[in-house]
Symmetry: C2
Subunit: 217 residues, 2 copies
DNA sequence: TAGATTGTTAATCGATTAACAATC
DNA sequence: TAGATTGTTAATCGATTAACAATC
């Protein structure tokens, strides 16, 4: 594996989880080996790009043979940091927060939801999947005392930066942000945005483009 | 506005909703005019890129003055296809489906949820925001009869392609896909994915990178 | 060994940035 | 008019693709 301080381009990072998804499927189907050409057919990236991408992190293949599905899958898991567990909290337990909590709880191995926080007294005291909803005022201490790695932000736009500041001060490592704004954080804190509005607007753009193309004919 | 068949790069498309978001904020704050330099400061793209991006669609500014916030906001709305309404259905009314339904209903003007579908008899017959949950078997006819534009797919991985095929046959224009796979659709159908797993794995990668960098010092 | 396929270098393509003429 | 700032062309940079030598 190459030096960790070689900055990996964003384009590659975005492709990694996709490689993982397809390799996982192949693995489940019992496929043992795959060549960059076969993978290309499946994923839709060029074989050349696949080889380039993988070689950013190391030589995982074997000339004349291809890649062993299982070991490549494991390598990518390791690259993605999925070979460990993350202590995770959710902030903002409204509709979306509850759904994301359940989603993460049931489907995301390694991301352990250990705390839920909200300001709404109607929610504080309730439990979701046996995890208690605590008052927001307790969050800072909780993050420090339990060495929380990741916070999932599901509060509204207006409060998201304030929540973020508290999390950063308490030593959070990563934020999965569902609030529709770009958070201001120091460099050592990772932020991944899920901007649902932006995504829906992108869909709208594509539909409009298709319609224009149709009417051009 | 330039010809609609000039293919707009994906990079630009992804930036458009972000322009919209910042312009909307400025508009709400009562800001009347803005230069590409000021906008650059705010959004974090270079002024040059902003001018390039906007000029892909037309000359919306005025030399020596800048851009009028209100009219630029309106132009971008139009470019994004947000100057119309979309008849929308949600397929798969589990936890995530319900959350997305509520989210879209309350926050997304123009995306009118007019139908909900599921196979679960416990859900069929219920209402969310006064919209009835119907059995999946009724979906195809419903889409045809009501000229549905957009379907939001919140079913599981296993059923997502099957659901998609029915939607495509019924004449859907766009799909907002929350299932963790890449759907196979004809070219005239727009698909926008929200791959929550991929997003979380990207966050994991970034956290790991930061940790490696830290330990390198 | 011969064939296959990777790993890697070189070429190409596209996107971003810089520069500046046009013009409000 | 002078100053400011866009719109647009040219230069640069980075990412993708092609080619092929290395090697299993």
């Amino acid at each position: 594996m190459k030096s960790s301080n070689t900055k990996v381009s964003n384009a590659i990072i975005r492709r990694l989880p996709r490689y993982r998804r397809y390799l996982n499927e192949l693995r489940k189907q019992g496929v043992k080996k795959i060549s960059s050409n076969e993978l290309s057919e499946l994923i839709g990236y060029t074989a050349s790009q696949i080889r380039q991408d993988l070689n950013t992190f190391g030589g995982f293949g074997q000339q004349g043979y291809g890649y062993t599905v299982d070991s490549l899958f494991n390598e990518i898991n390791r690259i993605l940091g999925l070979d460990r567990e993350y202590k995770t909290i959710v902030v903002g337990i409204g509709n979306l927060g509850q759904a994301i909590t359940n989603y993460t709880y049931y489907y995301k191995i390694g991301f352990n939801i250990v705390g839920l926080f909200d300001v709404n007294p109607k929610l504080v005291g309730l439990s979701i999947n046996d995890v208690l909803v605590r008052d927001f005022s307790e969050m800072s201490d909780f993050v420090k005392e339990n060495n929380i790695d990741i916070a999932i932000i599901c509060v509204n736009r207006e409060n998201a930066q304030k929540v973020t500041n508290v999390l950063v001060d308490a030593g959070i490592e990563g934020i999965w942000n569902f609030a529709p704004l770009d958070l201001d954080v120091p460099e050592h804190v990772a932020v991944e945005n899920v901007h649902l509005s932006d995504s829906l607007h992108t869909l709208s753009f594509m539909i409009r483009s298709n319609e224009l193309e149709e009417s051009d004919k």
